[in-house]
Amino acid sequence: AQSVTQPDIHITVSEGASLELRCNYSYGATPYLFWYVQSPGQGLQLLLKYFSGDTLVQGIKGFEAEFKRSQSSFNLRKPSVHWSDAAEYFCAVGGDNQGGKLIFGQGTELSVKP
């Protein structure tokens, strides 16, 4: 079955520390992978996406993610977290056989300590 797992429901990091949010997927074909961020009371905003090519993708707000096919992972990273990064983060997978639909993970809530 196609699915996305974000193992960490809630993560707390100190401001200035590095961040890695985990995402594992199960998908039978070539995946399209996305990370979205949702600030409190807002809709989802795309951080970055991977379709093909270079497996390390850069996104907005200083985020990057690495696609590792052998591990079925697409982890999100940031070298130095800012207080404004506190939000909920969603990983999603889609593909050519999905009819435009995306499958979302459960989300990881990030808190930032001053």
Partner: protein, 114 residues
């Protein structure tokens, strides 16, 4: 920039009422989606539409219906609201089927059913 708007940010309804949630996008997108978001469950797809007057059930369509009479507008209808439909509802749109799965989200409607 793609803009997806939702008719209400907050809505309070009574059990048994008929509820309409409206979504409008301004980028001539073919695909439109309705999700509900609940803590710990991520985003779950209720219905989607890939063309005017076309609709398909998502993962949790029970208790909901949709309408798409014009390309830019996609309505979610709760025929008889129940307390277990209290949730955040997110609308999204995307360009043509499977060419680009990136979805653009509205700000969400937080619905409370009393």
């Amino acid at each position: 920039d793609v803009k997806v708007t939702q008719s209400s940010r907050y809505l309070v309804k009574r059990t048994g009422e008929k509820v309409f949630l409206e979504c409008v996008q301004d980028m001539d997108h073919e695909n439109m989606f309705w999700y509900r978001q609940d803590p710990g469950l991520g985003l779950r797809l209720i219905y989607f539409s890939y063309d005017v007057k076309m609709k398909e059930k998502g993962d949790i369509p029970e208790g909901y219906s949709v309408s798409r009479e014009k390309k830019e507008r996609f309505s979610l209808i709760l025929e008889s609201a129940s307390t277990n439909q209290t949730s955040m509802y997110l609308c999204a749109s995307s360009a043509h089927l499977s060419v680009n799965n990136e979805q653009f989200f509205g700000p969400g409607t937080r619905l409370t059913v009393l």
